[in-house]
């Protein structure tokens, strides 16, 4: 076979992805980096190569407030989801039959296909001053508590988004842990805590970290929970992008925020992958 023979059949299957994702995925992302150097005059973007957008955004205190707030909220969300999900995933992986586990996973995937906006609005109703939780608490003479417009409500929103997915990923990775090794740990006299944290967690490490990373990415980019439940004071980076884009057509400055978000996410993801696949 000649080295330069064109295999039409192979190319037919290979090209659609390459063409589509280059033009409509890589293209936009590269262009977004380019427009961080563009200028806006009279509400129109003009090609240029200026650092002004970077200087304007990165020298503002409010940008860094948002930056660290977003980082903090996403971290908090990741820790909460990982810790809250673990006992449930543990139970589904080790205490439930395969059939129950399959159904549980199926039911946990359902929320992924229901409107996240509507679910957030429901939490708004549940957590409100005269909402369901305060109504129940008032029967016991408690409250009312202010829950909306607090970081607590933001985290509830993030959990709505992430928790089902994290439970699914943790359950699948825990279910793959070799039961013989757990048995062996028991037989060798390891206690409950020691078996879980010394044997099971290290064996399921990759899946647990992947769940955490996905939760981090979702929370980091979400604007619905911090805006509608958290009150957006100060705004997170995603809200900053929306405000900057929609008011005043400042796309270049919004792009600066987006590029900063990407850089942060890439570093977090690489660190996590390194931790997940590192050998002891």
């Amino acid at each position: 076979m000649s080295l330069f023979k064109v295999d039409g059949y192979a190319l037919t299957w290979r090209l659609p992805l390459l063409v589509w994702q280059s033009i409509f995925f890589i293209g936009p992302l590269v262009f977004m980096v380019a427009i961080t150097f563009f200028l806006v005059k009279n509400y129109r973007m003009r090609e240029a190569f200026e650092m002004i957008n970077w200087i304007k955004m990165l020298s503002r205190g409010y940008f860094w407030d948002s930056y660290f707030l977003t980082l903090w909220l996403a971290t908090l969300s990741t820790l909460t989801a990982t810790i809250v999900a673990f006992p449930a995933s543990y139970a589904l992986a080790f205490k439930a039959s395969a059939t129950v586990r399959r159904w549980a996973v199926f039911f946990l995937i359902i929320p992924f296909f229901t409107s996240y906006l509507v679910r957030t609005f429901s939490w708004y109703v549940i957590l409100a001053e005269h909402g369901a939780i305060n109504a129940v608490l008032s029967w016991f003479g408690l409250g009312p508590f202010t829950m909306l417009n607090t970081p607590f409500a933001t985290i509830i929103g993030y959990m709505t988004l992430c928790l089902p997915l994290v439970v699914v990923l943790q359950t699948l990775s825990l279910a793959n842990v070799d039961k013989n090794l757990i048995e062996a740990a028991w037989n060798l006299g390891a206690g409950w805590m020691r078996t879980v944290f010394g044997v099971i967690v290290p064996l399921a490490k990759t899946g647990l970290i992947i769940g955490a990373v996905i939760c981090f990415i979702l929370s980091y980019g979400d604007f619905v929970a911090p805006y509608y439940l958290g009150g957006s004071k100060p705004p997170t980076l995603s809200i900053l992008i929306i405000d900057t884009t929609k008011s005043g057509q400042q796309w270049p400055r919004a792009a600066v925020v987006a590029v900063m978000m990407m850089a942060t996410l890439i570093s977090v993801a690489f660190t996590a992958v390194y931790l997940a696949y590192r050998r002891k």
Partner: protein
């Protein structure tokens, strides 16, 4: 071992799982309940049963336009992204080549990037190439987001195929195209339909990118977002319930197709 403590722990874990499921489903069930509740401002105790919000939604031409747009977008996205997903899955199944890892990264990367970033990038890019604010702007953007899901579903199906099946067809004189038509495609059919349902459901629900690039061609979730931004009213629950039923129908069909084993394997 102390079996009583063991039993207590197990019982505690079961309760815990139930609590997690309550947390996950509370907002979904709440919105369904409130969609039939007469009070304009949601509060406890509930008002009386009403279909008022469904009537409001039913009589709102904006919602009908949005439903129409959403359906056109979802169907187009389903077809396009399933086609791209199939091509990619088959390439991954059949070939190995230089830069294949890069190829797969390109195929699976989109869901790992926050939607708000993709939305901004697409908005700027579409404005640049003169494709902004059209109904097919949303189609293009959603196809980028959905094809990885289609690829994953179909790739899983190809995992189950007997590796000798395709070469056997070639040996019997079938060309590669004929083998594709009569061996691979029939084998993948349930996964192809499942991938279509799944990608349609994802597209039907996506609002961040749609909000940025749709212009005046609003989809249903974009309408929901706008109601949330303006005068919040219980219509939202009625629309949400409608979206939920639509997406769930698609997901259940997909799930059934993936899990049910087809009685006859590759019939031809």
């Amino acid at each position: 071992m102390n079996t009583r403590i063991d039993k207590l722990i197990t019982a505690g874990l079961i309760l815990y799982v139930v609590a997690v499921f309550i947390f996950v489903f509370a907002p979904i069930i709440t919105s369904m309940i409130f969609s039939f509740n007469s009070d304009r401002f949601a509060s406890i105790p509930l008002g009386s049963f009403t279909l008022h919000w469904y009537e409001t939604v039913y009589n709102d031409p904006d919602v009908w336009d949005a439903v129409q747009t959403s359906i056109i977008v979802a169907v187009s996205v389903g077809i396009l992204s399933t086609f791209i997903g199939f091509c990619t899955a088959y390439t991954d199944y059949r070939y190995s080549f230089r830069f294949k890892n890069g190829y797969l990264v390109l195929a699976l990367l989109p869901p790992t990037i926050p939607l708000i970033i993709i939305a901004l990038a697409m908005l700027a890019w579409f404005a640049r190439i003169g494709a902004s604010g059209q109904i097919w702007s949303v189609v293009i953007a959603h196809t980028v987001l959905c094809s990885p899901f289609a690829m994953a579903v179909i790739r899983l199906r190809l995992q189950q195929i007997d590796l000798d099946l395709e070469p056997a067809a070639w040996n019997l004189g079938a060309s590669e195209w004929v083998a594709m038509r009569y061996v691979i495609v029939p084998f993948c059919k349930p996964a192809i339909v499942a991938a279509m349902c799944l990608t349609m459901a994802v597209s039907f629900d996506e609002f961040v990118v749609a909000w940025f690039v749709s212009g005046l061609n609003k989809t249903v979730p974009v309408i929901i977002l706008e109601i949330l931004q303006g005068n919040v009213d219980p219509q939202i629950n009625a629309i949400g319930t409608f979206v939920f039923v639509t997406s769930m129908t698609l997901v259940v069909i997909a799930q059934l197709l993936v899990t049910l084993r087809s009685p006859k394997r590759s019939s031809t």
